[in-house]
Symmetry: C2
Subunit: 150 residues, 2 copies
DNA sequence: GAGGTTACTGAATTTAATTCGTTCATCATA
DNA sequence: TATGATGAACGAATTAAATTCAGTAACCTC
């Protein structure tokens, strides 16, 4: 991981579909050498993959919510059960176990408030071990690049 | 936006660098027609772009934190000032204005707890209009695909 | 049912990715 | 200081993919 690799990562983070040819020009290296570096970054797992960034509004997913979840600390398997259950719920794009006043922070996208009420009642509150939830609806996405600072 | 477009979006979300040829095979369409659809999705903004997904740990950004921010509601320009200031801070990957007990929810990545303490003191608490912050450090990323449910 | 629009196909062409033989620099070791 | 191994780079040749385009079918609209 030298400076050249870093330049590659910066570019690929900004444009995951840049051609190898253009990338090689930007970092002042031959196409063959550039490709070799990119492949190595992929194989070592530094580059985990590539994805298209889609517009949530265009796809009828205009409402973004964060949900704080507190679990029942009764049985020892509660956290595992909850984690497993989370993974198969498509609306949930992120779920983090956090230290602090609650247990999990969930990021989810739904069509509108109506859809969320339904999602909360039919899906979230029926998850194993849930004691309490707290919802914060997003009014404005001030920043949302999902890029790492390199 | 028909079912074929939807299939395209599903595939491109999973693998933003799939070749047009393979994509066309997966959706049972000719390469030319497939390309035309992808271009249209890009032009209409449904596809906003493409990005490489990088491994935070490999890049020395092992600590993920969420910060709840409450602003001083004194002057009317406070929210704009804050929003503008946020955008240039590389550690902040997301910032959302939320309805509820606080004003903004920030997602940030730093090297470790030491780096976070520094970030909080030197950067966050010096932003315009901040009254209070509340930090939640992530212990485990249970789910993190950043994909939209299609 | 004529005219216009849209989306598709398949072939031809352009462009990019990939492979490979070679060179150069670095570095540890005899 | 030679020697040989290693890693990274280049450039040319090859393979594969993207792109363009002419022609056709389906579908509206009037």
């Amino acid at each position: 991981m030298d400076d050249v690799d870093k330049k590659i990562l910066v570019r690929l983070q900004q444009d995951g579909r840049i051609t190898n040819l253009e990338l090689s020009r930007l970092i002042h290296l031959s196409p063959a050498a550039t490709l070799e570096r990119v492949r190595k970054l992929e194989q070592t797992g530094i580059i985990r993959g590539y994805m298209a960034k889609l517009d949530p509004d265009a796809l009828q997913l205009g409402l973004l919510v964060f949900v704080q979840v507190t679990l029942d600390r009764t049985s020892p398997g509660i956290f595992d059960d909850f984690s497993k259950a989370i993974k198969s719920i498509p609306q949930i794009s992120e779920c983090h176990m956090v230290a602090g006043g609650f247990d999990y922070l969930i990021k989810a996208r739904v069509r509108d408030m109506n859809a969320y009420r339904n999602f909360l009642g039919k899906t979230l509150t029926r998850l194993p071990g849930i004691r309490q939830t707290h919802t914060y609806t997003v009014m404005e996405e001030v920043k949302s690049n999902n890029e790492l600072p390199l």
